[in-house]
Amino acid sequence: MAHSARRKDCPELPDFSLLKRLARDQLIYLLEQLPGKKDLFIEADLMSPLDRIANVSTLKQHEVHKLYKVEHKPVVSTSDQLCFLIRPRIQTVKWICDVANADKAAGKFRRYKIIFTPQKFYACEAVLEEQGIFGDVTTDEWAFNLLPLDDDIISLELPEFFRDNFLAGDQRWVRTAGSALHLLHSLYGPFSKIYGIGRCSKMAYESWREQVEEGEQRTHQAEIGKVFLIDRDVDFVTPLCSQVVYEGLVDDIFRIKCGCVEFGPEVTSSDKSMKVMLNSQDKVFNEIRNEHFSNVFGFLSQKARNLQTAYDKRRGMDIKQMKTFVSEELKGLKQEHRLLSLHIGASESIMKKKTKQDFQELLKTEHSLLEGFEIRECISFIEEHINRQVSMIESLRLLCLLSITENGLLPKDFRSLKAQYLQSYGVDHLLTFANLRQLGLLVEQQPGETLTVMESKVGKLVNDKTAGKLTDAFSSLAKKSNFRALSRKLNLVPKSDEEYDLRVPRDMAYIFSGAYVPLSCKLIEQVLDRDGWTGLEEVTRLLNGHEFAVSGSTGGDSKTKSDAQRIILVMFLGGCTFSEISALRFLGRERGYKFIVVTTAITNSSRLLEALLDNHA
């Protein structure tokens, strides 16, 4: 394949299966705190993560009688012990209070236990108190905050992190992120160097540092040397682009959930759907996941031919040879055969879907936006997209991409596109637009470019109260994306007249057909190359600052254990895409690093925008 390792000296990844065992053992311990038979209610979005670390028989062994999904409806359980495994959400706790109060009213006595994961919030306990249930319910915390999805991907499985932190400005998950980092540090550290950029990254770093100080320090061989923390709002462009690397494309189209995808009948060429784990254990997938989609066909047909040849070998075999063939090779071939048909089916289905929706033109528009080329044509493409009521999310994605790359829309364009959008998809989206403006994703250009500078100067001079007001007033300005300037500085968009051979990628731009190097990954590359932010002052200024690079004085024997120094943990606060992971894997192969991606959740353009929709009750 195109990506045969450039450097053979990439270090080995640490073993993260330990994290699963820790989480499982802790859950079992908690279940045993409520001895005897009990029914377990599980929050819907915890089902898949739970599936990855335990199964029904694990739960049954610990006297879980029946399993229910939390549905905010009256319960039908007859058990006299109810256990709730939930995220710390006020509405879920309210529902539990309703259940308990209904029992009380009916004179039914039960024992209740709430297990909050990854932690409980005071606001939830306050609900228990208010509803008169505090004391009737025991509560616990299950610190399940790191789920390894693959050898090099660990997820916090907290998609709400993005909206809570960046849109609502609620810092409730900062400590969770710090704790996750702390756990990794105690198991695979000590880290010797930490880099980061973004407000939340800084806070997560501080939270982690405090937790390290609160705890004890141990010395053991570091398995992870360096850490890079990055906020999602440092780079919104990358997750808004269409993904064209196989794994990302599969995620965009079929939605990979917790490392698992459900392929429908159109893929499995049978009448039923099939759930398939997508990770490095799948040998076929492992070879194509990071490939540009255009290379996937070639690979799959080559594989199919090899498979045919391997099967054909059995012709003309005598009994003995046949026996060896069946016992030694057949099983492997069969497995490969199954995987191959699945991925061929998936590719076929991707092709059909993408052909239908003029994917070619869509990509062309995206590339023009990234390049800042023929913007009027792009606007009329987006307009037609809206007029024809093509996917509501897709239209929004293009609008946001236009706004970020252009530093906001001209007032005239903004008004007209917004009006047409509301006509096509419903006036309810006024609320969505308000959210997007708040986040700086879709804004009107403001007159007076220099206001940002002025704001920071004024902010330093006046007292807090006024500064607060000022920040509020200028908030949309402070969030200027400066994409064009950043793109020039960091050379993110290669010249379009150069040819790009996607089979022999020369840089990370291959994940976007050679049209764009993802900003997030480029920053990581630059900082690692320079061992800090020196020389990137202009870039960090354009990114509104909040960068840091610190080294630990007791970082251990960093010189001698050089392998660990080339294992780099990148933590995305607010989510990262499969394309970014592919880009980092590429960078790792080029530079002899191994990247471990820790993310609050796997995201893509649809998930990111869906989190900001407000057109539903």
Partner: protein, 490 residues
């Protein structure tokens, strides 16, 4: 394979943007199909003894698991904390300085906490990698650590809260103490603790005082707003926004309530009441439209439901309505009306032209929607009429606010027959686009005429091989090729 290596090479390298295509059904797709056939053809062998499943599936069905070996060791509460230098430096996290404090608390004292309770670590149990066990401390009663509650300083209180330990906030009674506690919580960057303090302040301060103090504390304010949103305390949230003079946010928040009103008449009345809310001028017009659309939808829905039930109107019999039009976007409403009420006079509520007028729908938008609706009904004469305009001499010609390429696309998606399609393919300006569209939709005449106009003999010759032998098309090509009057360029 299908193509020679060189061909392929050239294909993928030809240009950056063309390197990746989903449109070309001829090569990669069929290559893929071939692979699929190859794989399918060897399926039989595989299915001979199809007992085990090699693809890992995910299910809750229990596979037997080995007994989980684990034990719980309570890690001893260790107060081993020494005054060593921090391993990693503290960085400035840009929280506004605690201005309200005159008491000389420094931020750094916060992080150097002297008295520390036990803190869970993994060390004891994890230092031996073969038996890594984890002992959660969760069941340990938190009160174990409680000394004299009133002794905790604000810093210590916040720190204990961060660690999930029991604290009492009751001793923070003066406004100054309360605000100091809040500011310290904010500087600890723990949203959970910030909200906890806010819940306490909400309980113990009057709204006026609380709102006033929050105004200068943006981070705390955002937490409070989020808390009120989550607890659905709409009333207090509105009061807060009013106190902050955030009138637009207030308007939007009130407008949002319509989403939870299911009954359409009540929803309409509610929207009407929203018209007086202090929206921006622009949004105000949108909300007005929202109200007007729903008002119309209610009327149209009532009429059409009855018409459908009575069975007197043909179109409702032929194309029964699949869903109600209530609460649909404006453009969906326009489509619906272009579908069911196309010929109605402009005076009626359901006339597409009336809708266009009322809501100032752009020409292009109207056109796209009407085109799609009429094409769906296969009302080709209506489609034709949409494009036809007369110039001052009375000649008709076809005009479109939309590119004809897009028109063809819309028609084709509504399965227009070739005869209809070719009329519009022929109107595509760009010759290359025209040919590729014509090829896609098998409009031979257009291809032949285009090559003729381009005087491209070679292409025409090539195309002759693609049409059916003995067909009208072949004859036409032959006539052209034999026509001595054409000056071929090749």
């Amino acid at each position: 394979m299908m193509k020679s290596k060189a061909d392929e090479e050239e294909y993928w390298n030809s240009s950056k943007f063309k390197a990746f295509t989903f449109d070309d059904e001829d090569d990669e797709f069929s290559r893929l199909k071939e692979s699929k056939q190859a794989v399918n053809s060897i399926r039989r062998l595989v299915e001979e003894d199809d007992d085990e499943d090699d693809v890992e599936k995910v299910s809750w069905s229990g596979e037997p698991v080995g007994s989980i070996s684990w034990s719980v060791r309570e890690t001893a509460a260790s107060n081993q904390k020494t005054d060593r230098e921090p391993a990693f430096p503290k960085i400035n996290t840009d929280t506004p300085a605690i201005s309200k404090s005159n008491s000389g608390y420094s931020l750094s004292s916060l992080f150097k906490g002297k008295s520390r309770g036990s803190f869970q670590t993994f060390n004891d149990s994890l230092s031996d990698s073969s038996v890594r066990l984890y002992a959660p401390e969760l069941r340990k009663p938190k009160s174990e650590y409680k000394d004299y509650v009133s002794d905790w300083s604000p810093e210590e209180t916040v720190q204990r809260m961060q660690q999930g330990k029991v604290v009492s906030l009751e001793k923070f009674r003066s406004l100054q103490d309360k605000l100091l506690l809040l500011d310290i919580a904010v500087s600890a960057h723990d949203g959970n603790v910030i909200t906890a303090v806010l819940i306490y302040l909400k309980r113990t301060l009057s709204k006026e005082v609380l709102f006033r103090e929050l105004e200068s504390r943006q981070i705390a304010l955002r937490h409070f707003i989020h808390y009120l949103t989550e607890t659905r305390d709409q009333r207090l949230l509105l009061e807060l926004l009013r106190a902050l003079c955030r009138t637009e946010d207030m308007a939007l928040l009130q407008y949002k309530e319509h989403l939870s009103i299911a009954d359409e008449n009540k929803r309409r009345d509610f929207l009407k009441s929203c018209l007086s809310l202090p929206f921006s001028a622009e949004d105000s017009a949108h909300v007005q439209d929202h109200y007007t659309v729903l008002e119309r939808q209610i009327i149209i829905e009532a009429n059409d439901r009855q018409a459908e039930r009575e069975g007197k109107v043909e179109i409702f019999q032929k194309f029964p309505r699949r869903a109600s039009i209530l609460n649909m976007p404006l453009i969906t409403t326009l489509y619906y009306c272009s579908f069911y009420h196309y010929t109605e006079p402009e005076g009626t509520y359901s006339s597409p032209l009336n809708i266009r007028q009322t809501f100032k729908i752009s020409e292009k938008q109207y056109f796209v929607t009407a085109l799609a609706a009429r094409a769906k009904l296969k009302a080709w004469s209506d489609v034709d009429a949409l494009f036809t305009s007369r110039n001052w001499l009375g000649f008709t010609r076809k005009k479109s606010p939309l590119s004809f390429q897009r028109v063809v696309d819309i028609l084709q998606k509504n399965s227009a027959p070739t005869q209809v399609l070719q009329d519009y393919v022929a109107l595509v300006d760009d010759a290359d686009v025209r040919i590729s569209l014509a090829q896609k939709h098998k409009c031979h005449d257009i291809i032949i005429n285009t090559y003729r106009d381009l005087k491209d003999r070679q292409m025409l010759l090539g195309y002759r091989g693609k049409v059916e032998r003995g067909s009208v098309e072949e004859r036409k090509i032959d006539e052209l090729l034999n026509n001595p009057q054409i000056r071929w360029k090749n």
